[in-house]
Amino acid sequence: MSEKPAHLFEKTWRAHKVRELPGGQTQLFIGTHLVHEVTSPQAFAMLRELGLPVRFPGRTFATADHIMPTDTQARPLADPLAETMLSELERNCAESEVTFFGKESGYQGVVHVIGPELGLTVPGSTIACGDSHTSTHGAFGTIALGIGTSQVRDVLATQTLAMGELKVRRIEVTGRLRPGVYAKDVILAIIRKLGVNGGVGFAYEYAGEAVEAMSMEERMTLCNMSIEGGARCGYVNPDATTVEYLRGRRYSPEGEAFERATAEWLAMASDPDAEYDDTVSLKADEIEPSITWGIHPGHNIGVRERIPTPSEASDEERAGIEEALEYMDLDPGAPIAGTPVDVAFIGSCTNGRLSDLREAARVARTGTVQEGVRALVVPGSQEVSRQAIAEGLDEVFRKAGFDWREPGCSMCLAMNPDKLIGREICASSSNRNFKGRQGSPSGRTLLMSPAMVAAAALAGRVVDVREVL
């Protein structure tokens, strides 16, 4: 190789650079555009107003997830606003010849679950979607960008985006995770260390033995919450695990073309001597099952730790901790374990995949949901649901007292009937514990791994999942 060593971000950016814009931003080609019902209708309307077609309909794929009810998805949807949004998406896709994965396709689901499942997410590609958790797709070694609706319009019209190049921080997780510690705990630990705005202006490259040992689904969980650390995107270098995941997927190449693709994909991985804007290291065996106690994902601690005390915090952190404790109504200095929960939610683009359900089911097999706790399991897609049912996981959950639902975003953000009520506390496998995030303006969220959520559902309070497993 005579070329200067480069990391995956740089190689991918270079391959997709259409041109440099006058002010120094890049016009970046977007190989795959994923679309959902909440952030696209206004963009399609603007396109219509401009008289412009969708430039690459064959590279644009849509599904409905945010507003989908999870009890019954029979049409028309019970909520007329949700029905309007779904119908609008169907109309926009039909008029623009964009592939729509609706319920009849058998592949409907959370957009960040179905993209990889269908083989649409490939190493060295660029993906954009009007959704911040697009970062999930970085698990494949992809520059995956969450964008707003005006940018959705730009991508529909030109298949390109105007944006400034990001810096790259390599985050190495050395050694191996201990039992009961999951990818969710790793990303929470990273956000705790670097802060919720530590990643502003950066793409995160996750590396190290612990990351290399992760399955694709675990890597997706890791990359999913890059945005919660302020990073626009995060990625893992493609390797044999990535290639094996992609083999035989609906949009994956076949036969010799797959072999050619494999060579292309692996060549996009960061060169060993690539230079980074920053590097950070964490020890995997020091990471504990983690849980949030406050109002952003950086407010997290190990399950055996105590809730922070404002008087012991730095001047910079104190006001934030006081505000969080007031909203959460938790006792400073008390152990987080033992905190009572009212609701348990397993699902979302963070943790709604088959391996997540398997881990939660392992716990669910050990008991029954505590009386008074509302517990629901929402598979990330129809495909996840089918596979889980084939393994009998739905029965495991039902028998333990969990509600088994249809796929969708559900209680992660409550744009559908699944919501917290009043001051309820929810043990949640989702990604955001912001004030009011789960649908009640005063509702409270404790983020944790799906296994921890299942354990909390059985105990009716926060427990260390390692005591159950």
Binding site: H16, V18, R19, L21, P22, G23, G24, Q25, Q27, F29, G31, T39, P41, Q42, M46, E49, L50, R55, F56, R59, H66, I67, D79, L81, T84, S125, D131, S132, T134, G146, G148, T149, S150, Q151, D154, A157, T158, T160, L161, A162, M163, G164, V196, N197, V200, E228, G230, R232, A257, R260, A261, E264, H296, G320, M415, R432, F434, K435, G436, P441
Partner: protein
């Protein structure tokens, strides 16, 4: 909307409102339940709705000294979380045209640029000076000069930062990037042809 109507944004002047606190997320700016709509038209009506209710009249947006302000002064990491453009749309439709803070979330800042809204960052010290100045004298006019990257208030002319690419798009009227991006038709096709996953392995 038209493709050839380029409006340059070189300055924003107006009264300002101070919203204290860091990490104010887009769920707080516009709760998700109000996004069940296929247009942005009604977003301004629900700006900070839950936060305002919870504050029982003590939210800065309900402080009559700040009524009619066009510049919002914030803290660190404003607009974090969801990529929803509904957040800057709600702020814009409520009447804000610019944001001054210590830092902004990447996606929020990009969304603001697409709408011709100015985000300018100041050092922690200068941001606090601005907040104190505006709280002391909310009647004053605060001025943002985009190319000079300054915020001028009674505390003085404070030197700030707007990323060069964003600054250029605001000044040249390409904050709505569609027409600029469409110029590269041929180059877009050539880039696509060079990508095996797009053109075929």
């Amino acid at each position: 909307m038209s493709l050839n109507n380029l409006t340059s944004i070189e300055a924003v002047s107006g009264r300002a409102c101070v919203l204290r606190g860091d990490d104010i997320d887009t769920d707080r700016i516009i709760p998700a339940r109000f996004m069940k709509d296929i247009t942005f038209d009604a977003m301004g009506e629900h700006l900070f709705e839950d936060a305002r209710k919870a504050a029982k009249g003590n939210h800065p947006l309900d402080d009559e000294r700040f009524l009619g302000s066009e510049i919002l002064v914030v803290g660190k990491n404003f607009g974090c979380g969801s990529s929803r453009e509904h957040a800057p749309q709600a702020l814009m439709r409520y009447g804000f045209r610019a944001f001054v803070g210590e830092s902004f979330a990447d996606i929020f800042e990009g969304n603001c640029c697409s709408l011709g809204l100015v985000c300018i960052t100041l050092s922690e010290r200068d941001a606090e000076a601005l907040r104190e100045s505006v709280e002391l004298d909310p009647e004053q006019v605060v001025s943002i000069d985009v190319s000079a990257e300054t915020v001028t208030c009674r505390a003085g002319a404070l030197s700030g930062n707007i990323p060069k690419g964003t600054r250029d798009r605001l000044i040249k009227g390409h904050w709505n990037a569609t027409s600029l991006l469409l110029e590269a038709e041929g180059a877009i096709d050539r880039t696509a042809e060079g990508l095996p996953y797009v053109s075929g392995y």
